[in-house]
């Protein structure tokens, strides 16, 4: 079937199989691979994205169910100032600065879940954070710094002025990548 989904601000029309899961649509068709698959059975939270502003597990949602919706993935969290500079979302900055990650595999899902929490509860207590993250499993960090990262983000709002820092070279930049995305972009917001 044909679906129309606004992903990270860009509206896309795509042809998908009825049984295509949202996570596979994002990863395989749009090449937005920051959304990870950690269990494929809605248990781990690594695939968390926002659909119409609320956090959901994209491994347990048909792409067809998201037809007509707005989807935000981890790639849509930072504000792109220019082609080479971007300003991280406070949660991204918090996870980076407070060492809220080790292997990084659960991180996008953690950030997306935390973003939903902060929308409803801008100043959560430690206990509220620990409760809110119940659907996200981290096997590395012991959660300690994840809680701190979210507390950090709660007290640091996005600064309006652009941060003109060049994006540093990432270590795997030299490797094979294929950033071509399929799915026709019909408009840009």
């Amino acid at each position: 079937m044909q679906i129309q989904v606004t992903v990270n601000g860009k509206t896309r029309k795509s042809e998908v199989e009825d049984r295509t899961l949202l996570v596979h649509y994002l990863r395989d068709q749009l090449h937005l691979t920051g959304t990870h698959v950690g269990c494929d059975t809605s248990s781990c939270g690594a695939c968390t994205v926002h659909v119409d502003g609320v956090a959901v597990k994209s491994c347990t949602l048909l792409a067809a169910q998201a037809d007509g919706c707005a989807v935000t993935t981890i790639e849509g969290m930072a504000i792109q100032d220019s082609p080479t500079t971007s300003q991280l979302h406070p949660l991204q900055e918090g996870f980076k600065e407070c060492h809220g990650l080790q292997c990084g595999f659960c991180t996008p899902g953690m950030i997306m879940t935390a973003a939903d929490l902060l929308k409803h509860n801008p100043n959560p207590s430690e206990a509220e954070i620990r409760e809110a993250l119940e659907g996200n499993i981290c096997r590395c960090t012991g959660y300690h710094n994840i809680v701190k990262a979210i507390q950090w983000a709660a007290t640091h709002s996005t600064k309006p002025e652009p941060n003109q820092q060049e994006e540093p070279v990432v270590a795997d930049e030299h490797l094979f990548t294929n950033d071509v995305t399929t799915g026709e972009v019909v408009e840009t917001h």
Partner: protein
């Protein structure tokens, strides 16, 4: 003037890539016309495949091929070829080798299709008939078949049990206070968050670029090259980011074999990802049964110690781990005996899992010491100190460094141990019983040889690389720090890269040895680069460095300076210009100093103090606070190191209270094989965790004096929790995990 960044809490250099979703793990790489493979797993435990019908699967749109043992390509004939660099003694498992089923969940077919969903559905339609044979999977029912494990190369890092000392039987019989106890641990699976995946990109020339989930890209390259008889130069394995390992990526897993086989046969790029259920169909922490006998004087002096362990292994390989040796090294009991045996069963070979053997054995001895302390009416910490040893009684040699006593003291003080009321069940608030317990942790500080390359680029920046891995530990960050410090450059001018077989060879990441092993190589290669720079400086006209030796100079602020007169200095950029504007490149190997190191026992130590709250009626347990003091040599980065320890402590909570893979032995199948029913801690399980690093200098372990922190955080934790639960409830639980039903 040195050490501007080593020892500082630097934020991870890979942080930005990971918080923006740009970090690519094995299944995030793609290729034009990529095919997707889904594995079909056996549903019986032992027997033969009598018939396979792939007709329905092949009839579906998009399905390209179904591989089974009947149509797989011819591969290397000899067992030897399937031995990866971490293979224990035996005959490695060969996927799709023949019709034999050796364990439940064994891969029996690979369905390759154009999309993942096509392959997944087709895999469910592959019909397989089996002739079943009786199987044996229950360790506790087959203890009578225990035998000594075969020894092999693996015993280099995993020594056999120490020789007996004194006369245990006599000393134990005569001891005024005796304790005989036992502990049973179940299966556990590593379950890193990333599913095992291999994306094999088939090049136009037939060369393979493999994005693999592995803790050692060179091991995957070696394995593929041997099994498929491809020259090394035609196989490149790349693994820049790894979504957790904990040991599961030490050996190539079967998705690598299957993806490479399919890509070569179909001459097309293929990705094979395992499902979470299939993450329970390869190596695991083995189930164990342990017995400990302790004989002591009334003052707590240990006269006699016996520690015996029996673990399961597969029918085809003898997996071993070091379980019983730690007891003998930690306590000076003059009469001691050790035993370690394996029981081969119809399941996959176990595989090193975070602090393999260490957390198993230390959990037992540290619970036993706790039991003994109550028999003696002695404080558990006093009992440890009473039997403290400054020399390794197993090997009769000194420790390269051992600040365990300071760990005990500092952690006890931070915890407030002196306020403990010694009687069990003596601390409570309403229904809530409160307990305080402690335990010791020990882990190896090994170093292996490694290679690294350093390049000072045309614009004066430093590029260092080594084919090691960063499974989340912080390798990218600490190697960047070491390189930056050695050549006096700011962090942002240094790029460290890893996880690529085109880079100089390094061992897999495991056993807490990367910091010392690869760190030494990085330090040495940067020093070698510094020597090259000095050569260039000496050749310059009227050079003030003309007579300088390497020991006479130091590097700081992008400059080389003379120690004797730091005002004599030269910019590194100038030296690049002196080199004709060309980059300056060196490669070096760090060797281990076996002669010196062999004279010492090299361990990291920890002391753990834990408070639990147990609901007296309902049996629920909360670890309300825990303090770990760690002596692990030099701490390169307190931020990454602390996180390693905290992560390890949470693994300890998991092992003590939650984690176990349960098998239905009638079927030989793991039943809770998903993340909903295989319980690991969630955020709400975790409360106050505190880490102290005790200062420790060690110039034996490696040139950096680091011991590694990947394992030591978990080792003492389960026993400390179990001991705290006893203190709270008066109940000694001898089987982990301690679930609420065992405390009701």
């Amino acid at each position: 003037m040195h050490n501007q960044v080593i020892g500082k809490p630097i934020s991870r250099v890979d942080g930005r890539a990971k918080v923006t979703g740009k970090a690519k793990y094995a299944a995030e790489f793609t290729a034009p016309d990529l095919l997707h493979g889904v594995v079909v797993s056996s549903t019986i435990t032992k027997g033969r495949i009598t018939h396979i019908d792939t007709g329905d699967a092949l009839a579906l749109d998009g399905v390209v091929k179904v591989f089974t043992h009947q149509n797989r390509p011819k591969l290397a004939w000899f067992d030897m070829s399937y031995k990866d660099l971490d293979a224990p003694p035996g005959s490695p498992f060969r996927p799709l080798h023949n019709d034999r089923i050796k364990y439940n969940g064994q891969p029996v077919a690979l369905v390759v299709a154009e999309t993942f969903e096509q392959a997944r559905y087709a895999a469910s339609l592959v019909k397989i008939e089996y002739a079943q044979e009786p199987h044996e999977t229950d360790l506790q029912h087959h203890l009578d078949t225990a035998r000594k494990p075969a020894s092999g190369l693996a015993s280099l890092l995993k020594p056999p049990p120490p020789k007996a000392r004194g006369n245990f039987d006599k000393a134990f019989t005569e001891a005024p206070v005796q304790l005989s106890t036992g502990y049973v641990h179940g299966f556990e699976h590593h379950n890193p968050m990333e599913l095992f995946s291999s994306t094999v990109v088939y090049g136009k020339d037939g060369k393979l670029t493999i994005y693999d989930k592995t803790q050692g890209a060179p091991n995957s390259q070696f394995y593929v090259s041997q099994v498929f008889n491809i020259p090394f130069r035609d196989v490149r394995v790349v693994s820049p980011y790894v979504g957790g390992g904990f040991g599961s990526g030490l050996r190539p897993q079967y998705q690598l074999f299957l993806a490479v086989m399919a890509a070569r046969e179909l001459k097309q790029s293929v990705r094979v990802s395992l499902t979470r259920q299939q993450m329970f169909t390869f190596g695991h922490r083995p189930a164990t049964v342990q017995h400990i006998d302790l004989g002591a004087q009334p003052d707590g002096t240990l006269d006699a110690l016996r520690h015996a362990a029996t673990a399961e292994t597969s029918r085809f390989e003898d997996y071993i781990e070091v379980v019983v040796n730690w007891s003998g090294a930690l306590y000076k009991a003059p009469n001691a005996q050790f035993d370690y045996n394996v029981v081969p069963l119809d399941q996959y070979t176990p595989l090193d899992m975070r602090a393999p053997g260490g957390v198993t054995g230390m959990s037992a001895i540290e619970c036993a010491m706790d039991e003994l302390s109550y028999k003696l009416g002695m404080d558990p910490l006093e009992l440890r100190l009473k039997n403290y040893t400054e020399e390794d009684p197993n090997e009769k040699r000194p420790f390269s460094s051992k600040q365990l006593r300071a760990c005990y003291q500092q952690a006890a003080e931070r915890f407030g141990w002196t306020k403990r009321s010694p009687e069990p069940r003596s601390m409570r608030e309403g229904h809530t019983l409160i307990g305080w317990g402690m335990a010791t942790g020990v882990w190896d500080a090994n170093q292996l040889p490694a290679r690294a390359e350093a390049v000072l680029t045309v614009n004066g920046k430093l590029r260092v690389s080594s084919a090691t891995a960063d499974i989340g530990t912080g390798t990218y960050t600490i190697m960047t720090q070491i390189a930056a410090d050695t050549l006096g450059l700011p962090l942002e001018d240094v790029l460290f890269r890893l996880g690529d077989t085109d880079m100089p060879l390094a061992p897999f990441q495991g056993g807490s040895l990367t910091a010392g092993t690869v760190g030494s190589a990085v330090k040495i290669v940067c020093e070698d680069l510094g020597k090259e720079l000095l050569k260039l400086a000496r050749k310059m006209p009227n050079s003030p460095f003309a007579k300088a030796k390497f020991d006479d100079v130091f590097f700081v602020e992008k400059q080389m300076r003379l120690k004797a007169d730091p005002s004599v200095r030269i910019d590194l950029q100038t030296l690049v210009d002196q080199n004709g504007g060309r980059a300056i490149r060196t490669t070096a190997t760090s060797m281990t100093n076996s002669l010196k190191q062999g004279k010492y026992t090299r361990y990291a130590h920890s002391a753990v103090f834990v408070e639990v709250q147990v609901d007296e009626d309902l049996g629920t347990v909360k670890v309300t606070r825990a303090v770990t003091a760690v002596a692990a040599g030099r701490i390169l980065n307190p931020k990454t190191a602390r996180s390693q320890i905290i992560g390890g402590m949470v693994w300890g909570i998991s092992k003590a209270l939650e984690e176990e893979t349960v098998m239905d032995h009638r079927y030989g199948r793991f039943m809770n094989h998903n993340l909903a029913e295989y319980h690991v801690p969630v955020c709400a399980d975790i409360h106050e965790l505190d880490v102290l690093f005790v200062e420790e200098h060690d110039d034996v372990v490696n040139p950096l004096g680091v011991k590694g922190v990947g394992e030591i955080g978990i080792v003492g934790m389960p026993a400390a929790i179990a001991n705290a639960i006893f203190h709270a409830t008066g109940k000694r639980v001898h089987e982990l995990p301690i679930t609420l039903d065992k405390l009701m």
